[in-house]
Symmetry: D2
Subunit: 388 residues, 4 copies
């Protein structure tokens, strides 16, 4: 039996962060399809993030991407967010979109390029100081396309140096999240291709360096929940970049490809204490809405995480442990499948009403006229899209 009050309390206080860049245009290398009403600057992205929070109630922060969200006064941006009821989440430096980074950023063979990249990382810690952000979210596009192009070992040393310099700069209450990715944009090696590489560097650095799991960044067949359980038990799980994929880093809406996998991940989180604030696990989205409208897609994504969490909370942990101890494979498995088969939408609709929200956030958003408003307001000016 699960404690229904505890389930509701956990769901009510859940915190899912949306990324500023998912509000803008994005695409594949073949085409970025422009959409109407997309934000033209960081302020408008924050406005849209506030809308997602207004209808879901569990998305109170927004992650920034620098320089995509560069503004002259970050304090003012943070205030703008606060006024709309949300906070600034993780700061995501971008060290892959300038021509100097053709052969990498902090791992580049050229020390001048490495210096430039490091300076940008340090600048992002400054922005954390100003905005109150607690997490520096590091993803490096660094790698090589051809065997022999560069020394794998040397690049690791350069990476270590940069990470150390940034780690030493972190202030109180600030953390560094080190993301890994199997491939893309580099096609032969990535300099942080898997959780093992990220973990090894975090252990080198110290307790405030944590691994960031992007659910789309693994080799086919990788059991992500194993990684989650492993890192959580060792206090090295910094958080998630949620999205879903069928093939590679497709960046589709989280839960859209394999909702049972998302549930299993959340089961490990719940069983391992990862929903407790003390665990320090950040639940963030990182998605690209290439063909679907962005705001409802983000609302849907937040709901998908919420539904997976609700189902995970319904797992009868005591029964599960009992069957596991007895080696009753089918019954233990059935504890999970029973929770997953449960329709949690009524429970969540009730919860939302308790929270003063519309029970159906997508419908409420559609009725709100927000899209019609931004389509009109933002018709002029350049969209602040991917890379803009």
């Amino acid at each position: 039996m699960t404690d229904q009050r505890a389930v509701r309390e956990a769901l009510r206080t859940q915190h899912i962060e949306t990324p500023s860049w998912a509000y803008g245009n994005s695409g594949t290398r073949f085409k970025v399809f422009a959409q109407e009403g997309v934000p033209r600057d960081a302020y408008e992205k924050i406005d849209d993030a506030a809308v997602v929070h207004r209808y879901t109630g569990v998305a109170p922060t927004v992650a920034l991407h620098i320089p995509w969200d560069r503004v002259t006064d970050y304090g003012d941006l943070a205030r703008h967010a606060r006024e709309r009821g949300i906070g600034i989440g993780a700061i995501n430096p971008n060290v892959f979109q300038e021509d100097e980074y053709r052969l990498g950023s902090v791992c580049n063979p050229d020390p001048a390029v490495r210096r430039k990249a490091l300076d940008h990382l340090l600048e992002c810690v400054d922005i954390m100081d100003v905005t109150g952000s607690a997490d520096l979210s590091l993803w490096f596009a660094d790698g090589t396309n051809y065997p022999g192009q560069d020394s794998i070992a040397d690049r690791q040393e350069r990476l270590s140096e940069a990470l150390r310099a940034v780690y030493d700069r972190l202030g109180d209450g600030q953390r560094m999240l080190v993301e890994y990715k199997l491939f893309e944009p580099a096609f032969y090696t990535m300099d942080v291709p898997d959780w093992g590489t990220s973990y090894a560097h975090c252990v080198d650095l110290g307790p405030r360096a944590k691994v960031l799991v992007d659910t789309g960044h693994h080799a086919p067949g990788t059991n992500i929940e194993f990684i989650v359980a492993f890192l959580l038990a060792r206090s090295r799980l910094g958080g998630f970049h949620f999205n879903s994929r069928f093939y590679a880093d497709d960046d589709l809406m989280v839960g859209a490809a394999d909702p049972y996998q998302l549930f299993r991940i959340m089961v490990e989180i719940v069983l391992g204490g990862g929903l407790e604030p003390a665990a320090g696990v950040a639940f963030m989205l990182d998605q690209c809405h290439n063909i679907e409208p962005k705001i409802p897609a983000l609302i849907r994504s937040v709901l998908n995480v919420q539904e997976a969490t609700a189902k995970a909370l319904l797992v009868d942990a005591a029964a599960l442990r009992g069957f596991q101890r007895e080696g009753d494979v089918l019954s233990a498995n059935a504890v999970l499948t029973d929770a997953f088969a449960t329709d949690v939408r009524p429970l969540l609709a009730e919860l939302r009403e308790d929270m003063g929200l519309d029970p159906d956030p997508i419908a409420a958003y559609r009725r709100s006229g927000h899209f019609e408003r931004i389509r009109a307001e933002r018709a002029d000016g350049a969209a602040a899209g991917w890379g803009a």
Copy 2:
């Protein structure tokens, strides 16, 4: 024993087509790195293709991509090519880079979009008529990103209709090559995801519809040489888009990731008679040189195909068949590995000297000053890159 004279003759008359788009800038969704000296229009791409042919002697045609290579007078473009010693190869329509194609081109649920796409395909047959191109090379970015987004079956019917209309428009001596691709840019379904889909449509259409094998478009673990042997035996192998990949459609230089696989593909070609002109197999490159200079990368790629072909031609077919009949697994395998282990660079250097070429095409290109010339000449004006 292989017949050395026949080997040389086969190599001397080999024909590897380079793609106009590989001479321009390209990149990933994260960044297109600009390079110096890239062509500013289709004429300059042809100039560069002629350079690759000049140093390799086996790259006498260039494939065009429409509208990337749109010109006002295609007859003039063909003449420009002819004057530089090369011909126009396959015409590649592009029905994925306009905003209307967000939900597909010939498979789009909207009949007006389908009509627009079909018109472009038919326009490309017109261009074939003018330029003397024999092959219409069809790749569709069509597909869906989310389950339920569209009807798989309906999209197949729309595809059939479009293919039929184009097939019926083909003139004498013109063929249609139908390419398949597992994923990207669509992430849930592609409308032609695998060779089976392509084959089924080709069989529906008639003998002039053939399957085009892009070596980077398969699921992990796919045995490409099986597909090649299968299609060749059924006269349905239209040709290749050569490139190499470690993960997905990386579009690296052919042979750079797995030269033994390239060799095995060429072994099936040689054993199945696919080098004979009558077989009608088109050997084309389709690559993206994101971080390396384009012209030497294309020269290297042509050489890689040439070396794989040379090794395949050295396979002792009689011995192989003998061991296969006897079920001598190790000896049969050793016939292949012996040919692959042979260093064919001296043979190819000699062949080039026979053909009046420099034995080392890369070195000769570097000495030629071509790059310095185009860097200066093309410093002004916009590069005609990916999608330009």
Copy 3:
């Protein structure tokens, strides 16, 4: 809106076939773990299959594997089945477990081995005649482990010959199902590696040759529901070997790895008319219960297919088509996810009660004492396991 009466009627008449071999021991190459109470011969396997049907009501046939299920009098075996309320389903020849088949069966370079294999296939058609089985289910372990080991093209010709001989022997109302598999037990080439190969041979043969889709036999990333929709639209979908997998051909309980994928497959079946008897789609399980008890695992598997079917039947097809036509990606997707999120267990429990069954088949089986009975009765004698 879906028609609830039609939904129930479809579920009531659903027909899921269990495989005789799943009742016996199985394992990996590392170990076959023996279980208590497993059948000692084909008669006892049928007894167990009848138990699965007794509790589920939708598993009225059992597939046989020859020679694993060899008996002296197949008429007697069929009668035994009939007396227990079930019928004989597909006949599965086994041409991979004799030493002669080291280099293949119908594709073997040695004509004597090919003859032996063909004779066994023809013997299986004789068994169909006697048992009333309508489907010959063909899976070939044939392939090669090393490049060059045998000729891909020659093996295809040998395969064609054998298939033709068997096809011509089929009687009225008999069909041939041609299964494909990416790899295992052969590791370089399989002679029928993918649906395209199977489809091409079926088209060569005639309308009674159909493709059999084993859900565990694909490359990573393959979209199975695309294949299902494609084949169904062309009347070439013969049926399924259901199971689930995380990595390769894991042969786990169907629905255990990715229940949403199973649902999507059933959606294509429902939308394409594949539940109609006229469609001739056979829904068969093909699983290995290596560590879990076999009978409850098979009951659970039948229920999993049933639940996926129920959810697929709840898809609001009219709404779906509407959103697809409008290009409303999110709403079309939501039609599917809404059906999937529905808890169909109450509906199915009711249905079972209508059918005179216990609403909870697993619990009813456990209470029945069947396992305790067979454990005692079958304690002596050799288990008829995998390969026995």
Copy 4:
């Protein structure tokens, strides 16, 4: 320029270990094909290993698998080996082939089973003491097949306990190698699925715990040479289980699937100092010769590693570093491809003659009559195959 004398010296002193189990029968779950002349006990396996060393000159040790190679007097077995000119290599405990291990060995939920498994591991250290083996090679088949079957985190704790107990028992000069594997025989989780898990446990344990890389145990797309370079730089690369694969853990002859990958791995070894004895990298084969004769397959495998090593030694490291520093992608890559394209068979034939060996080990073995001898001698008695 590479130093030819150093190249020869490195090749002359190379040490490639063969595994006792590869001399016996093996197969897939579908069938173990029996071969003639296979050994009937550990003594005969050692005899065959000595034959492989006699013809190659670089395979001076053989790994044992306990209990497959159980004898009453291990001192006597070691003496037998010594008399034939070879030594005992790594000891490989087997904790997966008894019925108690159905739900795992050291990670089993049942403490009695864990105790049994641990006792076997400790027994293997005793065998190391007696035979002079320096390496305990640990691979665990432990894992789960179904979500929820057991607690991922609890299993990690049990694993840690067992590893600690064994580590503390190791004597002077003894090491523990911890192997990882993505899947098989468990299909949902493996308890050591990847190098990261292995690495984390090794770091926990101490400097004598090292990661063992089996080249067939990775997810598709994994860059193995990255892992090799990473571990080597951190002194955590214990050694290899070499084999090759196209799909999963195919256990084909090393170098048979992707010789360029094997070369790249050896390049990282050479560049990272991994050929130096001080690096402590063990080069071991771990293969299954299911359809090909075992002894020539092992000779061929040893030669394949040797050829890859020779090519890696020919890499012009100074030129490579120069091009890497300059960011000259194509030239750096060409340093590798030039070395790979070199035909090293003449060099190795010469080396063998210097070493008093036949230049063609396979031909010499075939001429020796060894196979005819063992076929006759071992015709009676049960083959000591996989699991025997």
